[in-house]
């Protein structure tokens, strides 16, 4: 499914009676089946933009359309993976993954079958009867990903889904996500503030500048997959450098790995 953002703006009223402009005039065409990264410094409006696409917030200006049809509010074919742990502590891994199907009234047998397959896909075989508090942060995030993927979304919105994880786990889950994305054919919008994560994963990288949040550049990423810093070192390095400049991070190399 294709997403068209046209002149999207979002402002919040401030304490003093004024308005705070979180996003201004964001226009963007998200292509069917692509892997798009949204990158920007903390507080630039990435989560806001994602929640607008998810229909969890309403824009104060502009329109959002799916396959050309304007839409307001959540959409049954659009799923979100949140930055925070969003698993339900009272449900097992299998219960969490099957939650959306259960709510949509799927036939119990069919649901069990799809949950089983999803448990394999997200690598949680052997943990299906565990509860979230018995899992690591990375495994809980796999549960959250499984819970959205099992609904076979046309659009998968992910808000720094690996943000709380260590770099190694992050990289491995990223590679798994790419495999799942290729198999599912879904359109992925992936929010991150990590340059390396964006370059590792995305077909296109939209760079968002802060205050007010706006898209300043969209970079096409045609590095060959799988992408490692060592493979096409020069082009990889150049892309990182370009992003760093666009994000205003020059001379502060520490931040690029943040």
């Amino acid at each position: 499914m294709r997403v068209t953002l046209q002149g999207i703006g979002k402002s919040y009223p401030t304490q003093g009676g004024g308005t705070f402009v979180a996003l201004e005039n964001v226009s963007l065409e998200i292509r069917e089946g692509e892997f798009l990264a949204l990158i920007g410094v903390s507080g630039c409006g990435k989560s806001t933009l994602l929640e607008l696409i998810a229909g969890l917030q309403t824009p104060t200006a502009g329109t959002i359309a799916f396959d050309g049809i304007p839409h307001v509010g959540p959409h049954p074919r659009v799923s979100v993976v949140f930055q925070e742990d969003s698993t339900f502590p009272w449900k097992t891994v299998a219960g969490n993954i099957g939650f959306g199907l259960e709510m949509r009234g799927a036939d119990p047998k069919a649901r069990a079958r799809r949950v089983e397959a999803m448990i394999d896909l997200v690598g949680l075989r052997g943990f299906e009867d565990r509860y979230p508090h018995q899992l690591s942060g990375g495994m809980r995030q796999r549960v959250a990903i499984g819970r959205t993927l099992v609904l076979d979304p046309a659009i998968l919105l992910m808000d720094e889904p690996f943000g709380a994880l260590d770099e190694q786990t992050r990289f491995l889950l990223g590679e798994e996500l790419l495999r799942i994305w290729r198999e599912s054919g879904a359109t992925v919008v992936f929010v991150t503030h990590s340059l390396h994560e964006a370059v590792q994963l995305a077909d296109r990288i939209a760079v968002i500048a802060p205050r007010p949040g706006r898209i300043v550049r969209i970079i096409d990423n045609d590095l060959s997959r799988p992408r490692r810093e060592s493979h096409e070192a020069e082009r990889y390095g150049a892309m990182i450098e370009e992003l760093r400049v666009l994000l205003g991070l020059e001379g502060n190399r520490e931040q690029t790995r943040a």
């Binding site: 959540p74 969003s86 502590p89 009272w90 508090h133």
Partner: protein, 253 residues
């Protein structure tokens, strides 16, 4: 059970056994004077006898009905009150200071008012039990609802769940562990309210029986009834705590 846990349980039992043993010994030596020196073994015998011959039964039944009624009404008001305060921010902000001061007010000082409003019989007693229970129930439900992680509600909205589905499948399970703390405390507070109210307001019931025996120097019978109240409340609390533990076992560490 691990060895450590077993030792812990043994130690706890030992504390009770030793305390009861000391009490037994002191009472038999007449330490508390001729009327109040009732050994625990005699308390138990007296209790068994008065339950067996039926003299205490009507009082127990009456108190049980009062507590049951008070608790049921406290739940029926306290649970929805917590939900209403959660749904309405302005109301919550207005009411919050009073809710926090809820147990500061010496409820029993108002007993003449209760008699005036509710008359004789069990009504004023039940009313005190109700009022004593509501606060803990409403407050814990409110806290539980407020502590639902925002992201869990966002999941519900993103999945386009209806109001009833969100309530049944997200809000209720997310709130139950905390709400149950209030459900348990509400029971204890209703029980305390009822028995204490019986001391001053009743013409029958377990609390009345204790006060009556005290005034008539019937120490054996008085301590027997106190023992019954003690055993019943500890048993009820333990049962509720074990349910609470079960409900909280999947809470995040």
């Amino acid at each position: 059970m691990s060895r450590r846990e077993r030792n812990l349980v043994l130690a706890r039992v030992a504390i009770v056994v030793v305390a009861v043993g000391i009490l037994e010994l002191l009472a038999r030596l007449g330490t508390f004077g001729p009327t109040l020196s009732v050994p625990p073994s005699v308390m138990l015998q007296t209790l068994m006898a008065s339950l067996a011959d039926g003299t205490l039964v009507p009082d127990v039944v009456r108190t049980a009905i009062e507590i049951g009624l008070a608790y049921a009404i406290a739940l029926a008001i306290g649970l929805p009150l917590g939900v209403v305060l959660w749904r309405s921010r302005p109301l919550a902000i207005a009411v919050e200071p009073y809710l926090l001061a809820y147990y500061v007010i010496p409820l029993f000082a108002f007993y003449p008012l209760f008699i005036k409003i509710f008359g004789g019989g069990i009504a004023p007693i039940v009313a005190i039990g109700v009022i004593n229970g509501i606060g803990a129930i409403a407050m814990n439900v409110l806290v539980g609802l407020r502590e639902i992680p925002r992201v869990q509600l966002a999941v519900a909205r993103s999945l386009m769940l209806g109001q009833t589905q969100t309530l049944l499948h997200v809000v209720v399970p997310a709130t139950i562990p905390q709400a149950f703390v209030g459900i348990r405390l509400g029971f204890i507070y209703s029980l305390i309210g009822v028995i204490a109210a019986e001391f001053i307001l009743a013409t029958a019931g377990v609390g009345y029986r204790i006060a009556y025996d005290y005034n008539n120097f019937e120490s054996r019978s008085m301590f027997a009834t106190i023992l019954l109240v003690l055993i019943a409340s500890i048993a009820a609390n333990q049962a509720l705590i074990s349910i609470e533990r079960r409900l909280q076992r999947h809470r995040r560490a």
